[in-house]
Amino acid sequence: MGTTASQLGKDLLSEYQELTFLTKQEILLAHKRFTELLTKDEKDLPNTRVPVERILTLPELKSNPFRKRICHVFSTSEYKDGSLTFEDFLDLLSAFSDSATMEIKSHYAFRIFDFDDDGTLDCGDLEKLVNCLTGETDDTRLTTEEMRQLISNILEESDIDKDGTVNLSEFQHVISRSPDFVSSFKIVL
């Protein structure tokens, strides 16, 4: 099932309402914004997949430091190229919506921060995470010594089983102690 016409059917709308955390207005708005990204021929095809470059032109994602990882995580394409269908887009908005639960948000946050997709956050992932958030160029990065110290602080705080990596449960545990997470892990159209 996909979206062919420029209007969403009532059945489809209520199904999306049940399966995601979005309200009716949010789903309709998402549909409108998604179809604006499509070219004229693509609008008639069912289940179009929008390539990642076009998704990244959305103003909500354009300046986000994690934009490529977000597209990659929510994409269901077999080529792993980050392209999104409308349903992937709804998944994205649902996970980032106001009413999504802490478990959903922390699960997806973990997958976004896991840069090498191996299921754990090791030192390489954490280093990339910090660099993403502090700066890309050489003069804005932390020095090697500071990075090492920071990563060891992070691991000391969250690595409960002391294996040198942060797995999903440890990540969720440390996130549950941060009450600001739920309100800042939000993207609203």
């Binding site: 209520s14 199904e15 399966l19 207005q25 349903e87 502090t134 932390l142 705080e157 409960i160 939000k186």
Partner: protein
């Protein structure tokens, strides 16, 4: 699959929520749902019916959401400025709800019966409406239902016997009680979410990293946030090193500076209180309408200027963390406002109550003036605080830069304004109407000022903790202070003889005594009389209740200590298991 078996066992609504909570893609969710529906072919008719019910429910809830006040504006502000600035607007909306409820209750139960019974009572013929009344609240307004004095003490015969005294007393008592309960519950839920779970000592790296605000869309804001995050991370790394480096003389110097600034700020607050007392005491001989505005003017001026001095002191003090700096500033501002309010209340209850014949209306007028002048000063403060800072920061002294929205100071101003309204409800039942008007205008004013003049905050503030603190501050000392003042007035002070619903009684609270005496003659209400005499009026009851509460608190505290120990043991166990696992793999 096990998942499908689990889901089949749930009810329809739980099943939908359970599927929604799965962290899988929409495609897979649809597949699971289809599988589940396949297992339920016998109940197809029931399914269709429940589906249509659910769709009805969704459309109702989406209609309700679109009616919610200011949704769109809040999302816009949250997106541009982050969640710490949003706290101010959420708080404003919450307080507005309190005032709307209060106005509806007061108007409905107290004012409407009086207006229906006797529309234009007791206005002396030679007093007419002049413009100045809006500012001063005296004159024409004095005889209307705006103040306590406009209410009669009779039992109105409108449809049934409506006892105005009981209505007045119980409306205000029940409203204050409901306010208190709401505040306690929201404080409690906020505290549980934001304090107990969060580790208060950690300025930890994870907290900083995970509080990255995904909803910021502005490129420049993102760059600024990255810079600030880097600075904060570096600070948190060096903080641990720095703490051991202070020598004894430096520590003494810091201690001296702290002591000096605390003494100075306390002195300022006490000085403000004393000067207001003397100003009030000297001024009551002249009752010209324009001059009665002098005291509220001075009060609001102090509330505007003295916090600026406190911010100045703050800059000179060496604080180890930014959070302590904000806490110190907040405590000093609270102390200033409480001392001003305490002096005013003391003056009203001890001097005004004995001096004037219709003293409750006089106090009501004084509060009205305070509220109006406070409103004017809030608007001016917005102008000076934000607009001028912006102009100075961008044109005259570019080094300062564009100002940030000072959430703490603005929220404290809101709390102060609400306290004035709470104190004033007893003396002027329609004061919440003015408060509603004030808050509505303030919302739009602050929103425009914010968007035009301010930049997003540079530091990722601990929004959730600040919210807890503000709610806690609203409750204690401000709400508790207002409640105690009203309670003291109702309990100990003699109502005035010539006006108001409680004339002729010894104290306001004796209304209840009179009512209970009346009830004793009506058969079937003996239980109410019994409860009153043996529960509410007896001291042993309160003593026993306090004792039981203390015992329960002690038991809960012990349980918490036990659980903390358990957490430590379990952590150790996890480490042991993983180490053991690695060893056994190697073998």
């Amino acid at each position: 699959q096990n998942l499908v078996k689990e889901l089949v066992a749930l009810s329809t609504r739980d099943r939908i929520h359970a599927i929604r909570d799965l962290p899988i893609s929409l495609d897979e969710k649809k597949h699971i749902r289809w599988v589940l529906m396949g297992k339920q072919l016998k109940f197809i008719r029931f399914l269709l019916l429940s589906q249509s019910f659910r769709r009805c429910g969704y459309s109702i809830s989406s209609a309700r959401q679109s009616l919610e006040l200011w949704q769109g504006i809040m999302k816009e502000i949250g997106g541009k400025f982050g969640s710490s600035v949003l706290i101010y607007f959420v708080f404003l909306k919450w307080l507005l709800m309190f005032n709307i409820f209060s106005f509806l209750v007061n108007f409905g139960f107290i004012t409407i019966p009086l207006l229906v019974y006797n529309p234009f009572s007791s206005i002396p013929p030679n007093v007419s409406f002049r413009g100045l009344e809006i500012l001063s609240g005296a004159g024409y307004f004095q005889h209307t239902v705006l103040y306590y004095g406009g209410y009669s003490n009779e039992t109105l015969h409108v449809l049934a016997d409506y006892n105005m005294q009981l209505a007045y007393f119980f409306t205000i008592a029940v409203y204050m009680l409901l306010c208190g309960i709401t505040l306690i519950f929201s404080m409690d839920s906020s505290f549980k979410k934001n304090y107990v779970l969060a580790d208060p000592t950690s300025n930890s790296a994870w907290q900083l990293l995970c509080s990255w605000d995904f909803s910021i869309t502005n490129e420049r804001a993102v760059r600024q946030r990255k810079n600030n995050l880097r600075v904060q991370l570096k600070e948190s790394l060096s903080e641990k090193a720095q703490r051991e480096l202070l020598t004894l003389s430096e520590k003494l110097k810091h201690f001296g500076v702290y002591l000096g600034s605390w003494l100075l700020s306390t002195g300022l607050a006490v000085g403000c209180g004393a000067s207001i007392y003397y100003l009030y005491a000297a001024n009551w001989s002249l009752l010209q309408e324009a001059e009665t505005l002098l005291v509220p003017f001075v009060v609001s001026l102090m509330n505007l200027v003295v916090p600026l001095f406190y911010s100045l002191f703050n800059k000179f003090e060496p604080y180890s963390s930014q959070r302590r700096q904000i806490y110190a500033l907040v405590v000093r501002n609270v102390f200033l406002k409480m001392s001003i309010l305490a002096v005013l209340c003391y003056y009203w209850m001890n001097v005004v109550a004995k001096k004037f014949s219709c003293w409750e209306s006089v106090v009501g007028q004084a509060l009205y003036r305070l509220v109006i002048v406070d409103f004017l000063f809030l608007m001016l403060g917005s102008f000076f605080g934000e607009f001028l800072s912006n102009v100075i920061g961008t044109r005259l002294l570019p080094r300062l830069g564009v100002p940030e929205f000072d959430v703490a100071r603005n929220v404290l101003e809101l709390i102060y304004a609400q306290t004035l309204a709470w104190i004033g409800i007893y003396f002027s039942p329609l004061l919440p109407a003015i408060q509603i008007f004030k808050f509505l205008i303030l919302f739009y004013l602050k929103k425009v000022s914010l968007i035009q003049n301010c930049q997003p905050p540079r530091r990722t503030g601990r929004a959730a903790q600040m919210q807890t603190i503000f709610i806690a501050l609203l409750f204690f000392p401000f709400f508790v202070g207002a409640l105690s003042m009203v309670a003291y007035t109702a309990w100990s002070l003699t109502p005035s003889e010539q006006c108001g619903p409680f004339r002729g009684l010894n104290s306001t609270f004796s209304v209840v005594g009179v009512w209970i005496d009346d009830l004793e003659e009506i058969a079937g209400s003996q239980w109410a009389v019994w409860i009153y005499q043996h529960v509410i009026r007896s001291e042993i009851f309160y003593f026993l209740i306090s004792l039981i509460i203390i015992v329960i608190m002690y038991i809960f505290w012990q349980v918490t200590q036990g659980r903390k120990q358990l957490i430590g043991l379990l952590r150790q166990q996890i480490v042991n298991v993983s180490v053991f696992g690695k060893i056994s793999l190697k073998c």
